[in-house]
């Protein structure tokens, strides 16, 4: 405890990711490093390639070139399921919830619980009761968003409530890394504060988080390091301690560049 040991190996590392959509270039040689236990904010202008970058990490997109390593091992995710099996959970900007399904089904979508014994094994019967009780327990524990009933279909929820469901799904199932792409965009003040608290709780549990946000005060409140994305690449990595919000905005727009030695490319937090 007295001598904080810095974990020098990144948990997740991306090198030279390129992703183009026809003649539109989404990523143009992007790098990313995430160290154990940290909250890494990713900021940048609209179209800077933030979502594209995390989609590559989440398995939703396959980069044209470049490599992704997780715990020092090279990974090639073909589908989101591949990343999920590695413990990476993502709240996508589009939320990726199924409107016609109820909240419990959405929480367990793609990893439904089956009844024990013959009913589950042979007849593949879902344990709806257990999924519902556990889902409402999870929502209550997380304290994000209030819903009338866990069997309500998601299409009847407000935008903010849907976002809460998506965040809850990631928070419940993420075991190695949680990625949040603008998780508070549709949330009210109180719900946003809850999500920020949730991020802090996750960090206290040692769970690393990648947070994409346009909300600078939020970013400066929770981030250990701030990755600034610009024109499909990493422009700089700074910390809330070394740089101001104005600096970050200046880097985003290209008005300012930061010398490598002044950046926070390595870990800044002790992993405990």
């Amino acid at each position: 405890m007295s001598t904080p040991t810095l974990a020098l190996e990144p948990l997740l590392s991306c090198r030279g990711l390129v992703k183009s959509f026809g003649h539109v270039i989404g990523l143009n040689g992007a790098d990313l490093d995430l160290y154990p236990g940290e909250v890494l904010a990713v900021v940048g202008d609209n179209g800077a390639g933030k979502s594209t970058l995390i989609k590559c990490v989440a398995g939703a997109l396959i980069p044209d070139t470049g490599e992704i390593t997780l715990n020092g091992e090279r990974r090639e995710f073909k589908r989101t399921q591949d990343a999920r099996l590695q413990g990476i959970e993502t709240v996508f900007q589009t939320l990726a919830v199924s409107p016609a399904l109820d909240i419990a089904s959405n929480l367990y979508l793609g990893r439904e619980l089956r009844k024990p014994g013959v009913m589950g094994k042979v007849f593949r019967m879902l344990d709806k009761k257990r999924m519902r009780t556990e889902a409402s327990q999870h929502l209550q524990d997380l304290g994000i968003g209030t819903v009338q009933s866990i069997t309500q279909t998601v299409e009847t929820l407000s935008g903010g409530q849907r976002q809460a469901v998506a965040v809850a799904r990631a928070a419940v199932f993420g075991s190695k890394l949680i990625i949040l792409d603008e998780p508070t965009a549709a949330l009210g003040v109180r719900e946003s504060a809850r999500v920020l608290q949730l991020i802090k709780d996750l960090r206290d549990r040692g769970m690393p988080v990648i947070l994409i946000s346009h909300n600078m005060p939020q970013v400066f409140e929770v981030a250990d390091r701030i990755h600034v994305q610009r024109l499909g690449r990493r422009a700089a990595v700074v910390t809330p301690q070394t740089h101001t919000m104005n600096d970050v905005v200046a880097i985003m727009t290209g008005a300012m560049s930061v010398d490598e030695k002044d950046q926070a490319l390595g870990p800044v937090r002790s992993a405990n």
Partner: protein, 349 residues
């Protein structure tokens, strides 16, 4: 991104209990999509019984169930496909193909060139497998080549129809030429003066089994998810391609059973069998409250829808109306059902 403003307004309405009666109907129908076909069916039954008392005689009711059995069975397959936001225009052609395979393989008359004389159970199995294969071809074209189901099945409708005619020389195989097992679905069990066909029992069992599958298994949940929002389903870790392909294969299987039932129901196997069956199954599914946009609907609705199609035809005939009016009535029902669906879908925040 969903519109947060409309979400807030909805919530406000909900909390203040500011729901008009119309809104309440809308929400209820949204939650229980089989309610509207149930009401339509009951109303139709009552009206037709009042117009012509013959309508509710056991004999006529047996006749109605027999008329429904093929549409009903194929409507199960069609429902699974429409739930994924697809459509199958080739379902009738696959059924005809399947029954011709069965009948020709089991043909007992020695006079024919296509006489294979296989044991009837084997002929039926191969016929069902042929239907599964046909479904798999649809699924392959839709999933691997990413072609719209409407176009693919419009094409395979012609392909399967032509294949049937080329392979089986447009020859109708009469009942006496076939072994009994092929015609077993048409055997009627007498319950008083009501005649319950074996095929009807099979159809009801299939409805029960697939209702269970849709409601109580992961596969069922994934079918709804894929039809509802394929991108979201994929991002949630569901392999939409695998789900889609499997749905067309399973639909092929159900259609194969439908082929067997069809032989029993008509007592013959004709390559020119009922060309209206395709559209009838889609009509049944749509009237049954399943959304053509996918992700919403029930099998029980489709069963009711199949009965509505037959009851309206039968009832209007007994009321002495011309065939043209029956066609007109079905058309009006379909448009009404789709309009109702559009209205119900507005519940979405």
């Amino acid at each position: 991104m969903s519109d947060p403003a409309s979400g807030t307004m909805d919530l406000a309405g909900e909390f203040l209990g500011r729901r008009t009666p119309m809104q309440r109907i809308q929400v209820t129908l949204h939650r229980y999509p089989y309610l509207s076909p149930l009401i339509v069916l009951i109303v139709a039954l009552v009206i037709f019984a009042l117009i012509n008392p013959k309508f509710i005689l056991p004999g006529n009711l047996s006749f109605i169930t027999q008329q429904t059995v093929v549409i009903g069975t194929l409507a199960i397959a069609q429902t699974l496909i429409i739930l994924t936001a697809g459509i199958d225009l080739s379902i009738g052609a696959i059924m005809v193909f399947g029954q011709m395979v069965m009948a020709n393989l089991a043909l007992t008359a020695a006079s024919n060139a296509t006489n294979f004389g296989l044991p009837p159970w084997l002929a039926i199995t191969i016929g069902i497998c042929a239907s599964i294969l046909a479904g798999a071809i649809n699924g392959f074209l839709i999933v691997k080549l990413s072609l719209p189901p409407f176009i693919v099945t419009l094409g395979t409708l012609s392909v399967f129809t032509a294949l049937t005619l080329i392979l089986f020389k447009a020859r109708t195989i009469q009942g006496p030429e076939m072994p009994d097992l092929l015609k077993v679905m048409g055997v009627a069990i007498k319950i008083g003066s009501f005649q319950l066909m074996v095929g009807v029992i099979v159809m009801l069992v299939l409805f029960a089994v697939f209702t269970y599958v849709l409601r109580m298994t992961s596969w069922g949940t994934h079918i709804y998810a894929v039809g509802d929002d394929p991108q979201a389903a994929e991002l949630s870790g569901i392999s939409t391609k695998r789900v889609l392909f499997s749905v067309y294969v399973v639909a092929g299987f159900i259609t194969g059973i439908g082929a067997w039932i069809y032989i029993g129901r008509t007592g013959a196997a004709s390559p020119n069998a009922d060309p209206s069956i395709n559209l009838d199954t889609i009509t049944a599914v749509v009237i049954g409250g399943t959304s053509l946009f996918g992700g919403r609907g029930t099998l029980i609705g489709s069963l009711l829808g199949a009965f509505i199609v037959v009851v309206v035809e039968n009832g209007l005939a007994l009321a002495g109306l011309d065939q043209a009016y029956r066609v007109l009535a079905i058309g009006v029902l379909v448009i009404a059902a789709v309009a109702l669906d559009q209205w119900i879908r507005k519940v979405r925040a």
